[in-house]
């Protein structure tokens, strides 16, 4: 569908991927030709053998009489023709895609958090496009109403004056943000992206379970779920007239681009950072739409304009898509302790120079108790009921509502009125079907005491949809997440989204945090929809300003990623040399092994450990750095890096010193070189790659100098020069250039002064200068001659004219000091 999603995993050309494209059961070798082949009807019956819609609950697959709904028929017919093996392969391809693409969400448990694979349910959920149009129209109507409510709550406040919303629902509400009252959005609208969770009730009608207006997530996950499902069932999907998602993204991207005040600035996505549950999606959407991903610390406000700190200096931003809850945006006016916000951000809104997607304060619309008043507002303002109502809700602040809730608690959940959680994410005090969490029947006094702090909602038995369990279909409760984006033509509804599928027959278990899974949603049209890709309309613009827009934080992380991977590589080489020597003579206390051990110990590596913590720490630092800039390099690169660390952690405990360790280090060396190769071969040679390469070159220049100082020291033991050649990865070249001898001079010549050797110090200096040429073109503010350039040039000149024989140990120590200063000078010029 889109080619800027990394093409990894099983491609459509592998035999497995085509298995479902042309089902040919007759080609299968069958050891027992006597057994009759099942007919298509028998296969379908087998697939559905365990499928039992529940009484009193609607089902997506079957109508009340147990007949398969027309929209599902072609899909089920094809699905049932797959052999168990083919079906297993199909689901494995989907999961493999998500693993390769690195799709995860962060799971928060009571004590810990971890990255979890996106829980793909494999089977899509099918909806007829005619029914979808009705859902879409209903949600657009609702989104328009919510926009009007928002405008009133942050404007005239007529809803409260007219008694349509109780004042206390806002004045007690931490999401109603007083500093935003009176600020009109520059775009003319408060809401630009929304999501709704909807479910189908027993009567077959759709209900809105909640409104997501704060910083709705799901658009990126929907896209990845679609990609994964299309890997599972490429052929079936191609024949199923499924509406495409790309048009929605293109329209929304263009709408955001059009909101900019000037054509040069980037639309920017503000993320709380890698520790957020949906960070993957922030990075993914930024990459997919070509937007800039930043964190609060990247931003600063100057004279009412929002600016981003880039390596090319401060650059203005006029459209900010925030994935940060409102309260954290600006420590000056909102939460004082927010470390992830930007002081003055609200001032930029007030000065009319910034559009925020969505306007801060929009979280108030997610307030659970607000749903109790929306039907009344609709009747008052629109003169009719909404075509897609929300589930019945009562706010216990009113005496009449309290009485009603007490009498009808058996069919309600009673939870915090101001909660903005999803309806199936309950608070600790929730009363479900008239029972407190400890099983006690509802205490009526609790309702009276808590009163305005409670809202009750009718329990809806969600419809069921098919889930694939052990090769057969089972009916599981489901809800849909539908995503809307505002364009110049009004709200557009993404034709798809994703469905939550419960992991048991209980409606309450559709929460992902409680083991629910996620299905792609196929909106099935009667005719084949036109091909549509996002890339078709991307206009390439490679101006220098674009390249210079690398946030300083990202540049810094890339630089250190380059340094840490190079540092790890250096340590691995020396460890391998150590263990090889150990294997040769079996002794750890010979002069040479002792010398190596000491050199490594200066680098923080204890050779008594088979997988030294000093090496693991570098790998962890590299991954940490990479994790903060996942939008900047390929998922293959990320996978290579995590694989490296996983391998090291896995094999570490079992290793024996000597030969075993040496072999293990060779494995790690191959993997770390694999990572470097991926990055340097495949990464676009723009500013980010320059910083990564600068990290590598500066680290390599410094580490090589230190290594030479250690192993060409006149007092170093016999064999030290060989280690230098080994650690410098120059055995072959040395043999080529100096066939018969190895001496201190030949080693220094090759690893310090030989510009043609890509691992020599002099060659690093050339690389550094090349990168500085690029940066200085982007960053005129750094001046014609930065102190970094001066220092590198000075050293380069000296080494170019130097002879190996002149390089004394003292001189090596001076060179080491000079290279050690590069990092700080780089930061002074570009990373402030």
């Amino acid at each position: 569908m889109t080619s800027d999603v990394p093409e990894t995993g099983a491609g459509a050309t592998t035999p497995a991927a085509q298995a479902d494209a042309m089902p040919k059961p007759e080609d299968k070798t069958d050891a027992k030709p006597a057994a009759p082949k099942p007919t298509p009807e028998q296969r379908l019956a087998a697939l559905l053998a365990a499928y039992r819609p529940l009484d009193g609950v609607a089902d997506e697959l079957m109508d009340a009489r147990g007949t398969i709904r027309p929209v599902w028929r072609p899909f089920l017919n094809e699905l049932s023709q797959l052999t168990p093996d083919e079906l297993t392969h199909a689901t494995a391809r989907g999961s493999q895609y998500l693993r390769d693409a690195g799709v995860f969400f962060r799971h928060y448990g009571p004590d810990s958090e971890e990255e979890r694979d996106w829980p793909l349910a494999h089977l899509p959920l099918l909806i007829d496009s005619g029914e979808w149009s009705q859902i879409a129209a209903g949600l657009v109507e609702r989104a328009d109403l919510l926009e009007r409510i928002m405008a009133d709550l942050y404007g005239p406040g007529a809803l409260v004056k007219q008694g349509l919303i109780p004042a206390d629902l806002l004045t007690a509400n931490p999401e109603w943000l007083r500093p935003l009252v009176g600020i009109r959005p520059r775009s003319g609208h408060f809401l630009h992206m929304m999501a709704f969770d909807i479910g189908r009730g027993p009567d077959g009608k759709w209900w809105v379970l909640d409104d997501r207006t704060q910083a709705p997530s799901g658009a990126g996950f929907a896209l990845e779920t679609r990609m994964a499902t299309s890997r599972s069932f490429p052929g079936i999907m191609a024949r199923s007239n499924v509406l495409r998602l790309a048009g929605f993204f293109r329209a929304f991207r263009d709408a955001l681009l059009a909101l900019r005040s000037d054509g040069d600035s980037r639309v920017t996505i503000l993320t709380p950072g890698p520790m957020t549950d949906t960070y993957y999606e922030h990075a993914y959407i930024a990459r997919y739409l070509g937007f800039l991903l930043v964190q609060g610390e990247d931003l600063v406000v100057r004279d009412g304009r929002l600016m981003v700190h880039t390596v090319g200096g401060l650059q203005p931003i006029s459209v900010l898509w925030r994935r940060l809850d409102s309260g954290w945006l600006d420590p000056l006016e909102l939460r004082e302790n927010s470390q992830i916000g930007t002081p003055g951000l609200l001032g930029a809104l007030r000065s009319g120079q910034l559009t925020m997607i969505n306007a801060p304060g929009s979280g108030v619309l997610e307030t659970r108790a607000l749903m109790a008043f929306i039907p009344r507002i609709a009747r008052k303002w629109l003169g009719r009921d909404l075509s897609l109502p929300n589930i019945a809700t009562w706010w216990c602040g009113a005496a009449s509502a309290r009485a009603y809730v007490k009498a009808n608690a058996a069919r309600m959940t009673i939870d915090s009125a101001l909660s903005t959680n999803l309806p199936f994410d309950h608070g600790p005090e929730v009363v479900i079907a008239g029972r407190h969490p400890d099983g006690r029947p509802l205490d009526a006094g609790y309702i009276d005491t808590m009163a305005e702090r409670l809202a009750a909602q009718e329990i809806v038995s969600l419809s069921t949809a098919p889930a694939l369990v052990d090769g057969r279909l089972e009916a599981r409760p489901m809800s849909l997440r539908v995503i809307l984006g505002r364009t110049a033509q009004g709200w557009q509804v993404m034709p798809g989204g994703f469905a939550r599928i419960g992991h048991s027959a209980t409606s309450a278990d559709i929460s992902m945090q409680r083991g629910g899974a996620v299905s792609d949603v196929w909106v099935v049209a009667p005719v084949t929809p036109p091909e549509d890709t996002l890339l078709a309309t991307v206009t390439p613009h490679h101006n220098m300003a674009q390249f210079a827009a690398l946030p300083v934080r990202a540049a810094d992380n890339l630089f250190w990623l380059g340094r840490y991977t190079e540092r790890a590589q250096q340590k691995i080489r020396l460890l391998r040399a150590y263990h090889l020597r150990l294997a040769e003579n079996g002794l750890a206390d010979l002069p040479l092994t002792g010398h190596l051990s000491e050199a490594l110990s200066i680098m923080g590596v204890d050779t008594a450990e088979t997988m030294p913590e000093g090496l693991m720490a570098d790998l962890r630092s590299a991954i940490n750095g990479a994790g903060r800039i996942r939008d900047r390099f390929s998922t293959d690169g990320w996978n290579a890096l995590t694989d490296l660390q996983r391998t090291a952690a896995k094999i570490g405990p079992r290793l024996q010193p000597g030969d075993d360790c040496a072999r293990a280090m060779s494995v790690l060396l191959r993997k770390v070189s694999g990572f470097s190769g991926l990055v340097h071969e495949n990464m676009y040679h723009a500013t980010g790659w320059r910083f990564l390469s600068l990290g590598r070159a500066i680290e390599r220049a410094w580490a090589t100098t230190n290594m030479l100082a250690t192993f060409t020291d006149p007092d170093a033991p016999e064999g030290a020069l060989d280690i230098a050649i080994e650690a410098g990865d120059a055995i072959m070249i040395h043999r080529l250039r100096f066939p018969s001898v190895i001496s201190r001079d030949t080693v220094l010549d090759l690893l310090l002064l030989d510009e043609a050797n890509p691992r020599s110090v002099l060659s690093q200096l050339g690389d550094i200068l090349g990168h500085l040429d690029w940066l200085d073109k982007l960053c005129p503010q750094s001046g014609p001659m930065t102190s970094l350039r001066r220092e590198v040039l000075r050293l380069q000149t000296a080494l170019t004219i130097a002879e190996a024989a002149e390089i004394t140990p003292e001189r090596l120590s001076e060179i080491s000091d000079a290279t050690a200063s590069f990092s700080g000078l780089l930061a002074d010029s570009y990373l402030r």
Binding site: A167, T171, R178, E336
Partner: protein
């Protein structure tokens, strides 16, 4: 009564600090019938790169300033001439507490000084069961909202000890209440919490209090301080009434108002985002002199 007021707040940093952006709420308010600001001026040392004057949600005067370069010191100075008008103590015509729900219903609005804004937990004043119990005890024999508010104010003065060493600006109210010690900010926050627990909307007032030197002694320059007190909503007829629990009095002609809010969060005189490595020292001096 006309006062000449001068406030100086200065910061000195051990190392040049990224002072960044601040919001200052230091300028007195004009309050029809109560307080007239004849003149007020805020100045800064060194000069900020940006100065923005605006009003916040509650109508308080805010000055937002920003520095680009690092600084070793910053100093803010406010000078004002403010006339405070005498207002006789009014009769208690506030509704009975039992009628308060109905009284509030008639005032439902989102406007900045609507009582509904001041009834619920706010950033620095969470609900507190211990304070609620204490408040219920003090208010047992009070029938009206006004009588209740006054009783709470006096009881706080009786039960709390003024102690400038016991608490800091960010000490939670639970701690100050447990100690029964604190400064005007603690007295005010506990009063707010107590009144809200009784269903009476209550807010924070920041300002200045004229202090008189002990008899026979000269006034020490800069010895006055910024002050805080509470205001309680006493029904539609009486409206907001200001009590000073630290001094067991109604706020009157010795009090000059700077800002109103739900609690200290809304009115803090200097709110800023600051990045410093190393220490910082702060000095504050207030002079409030009655003009002849």
């Amino acid at each position: 009564m006309i006062y000449a007021i001068r406030l100086r707040i200065s910061y000195a940093y051990e190392r040049p600090a990224d002072v960044g952006r601040h919001v200052l709420r230091l300028l007195p308010l004009t309050l029809p019938g109560l307080q007239i600001v004849h003149e007020s001026r805020l100045s800064f040392q060194p000069r900020p790169s940006e100065v923005i004057n605006r009003r916040d949600f509650f109508g308080n005067e805010c000055t937002e300033i920003a520095y680009i370069d690092r600084q070793l010191t910053t100093e803010f100075e406010m000078r004002a001439r403010v006339e405070r008008l005498e207002k006789p103590r009014s009769l208690d015509v506030s509704p009975r507490r039992s009628d308060f729900v109905a009284e509030m219903a008639g005032a439902a609005s989102l406007s900045p000084h609507a009582p509904h804004q001041f009834l619920w937990a706010s950033p620095r004043v969470p609900r507190h069961a211990g304070i609620a119990d204490w408040a219920a005890e003090q208010a047992r024999s009070c029938e009206t909202a006004f009588a209740t508010a006054e009783a709470i104010s006096l009881a706080l003065h009786r039960d709390m000890t003024f102690d400038a060493e016991a608490t800091l600006v960010d000490t939670p109210i639970a701690e100050a209440f447990a100690l029964r010690r604190g400064v005007c900010q603690d007295f005010t926050h506990i009063a707010i919490c107590a009144l809200r627990s009784l269903g009476i909307p209550a807010g924070y007032v920041s300002g200045f209090l004229r202090t008189l030197p002990p008899k026979g002694q000269a006034r020490l320059e800069g010895a006055d301080a910024m002050h805080a007190w509470v205001r309680a909503w006493c029904g539609n007829d009486m409206g907001w009434v200001e009590f000073d629990p630290t001094n067991a009095m109604l706020a009157g002609s010795d009090h000059v108002v700077i800002a109103y809010g739900r609690d200290y969060f809304d009115v803090s005189p200097v709110k800023g985002a600051l990045r410093i490595a190393g220490g910082r020292s702060t000095k504050q001096a207030v002079d409030m002199v009655e003009e002849d």
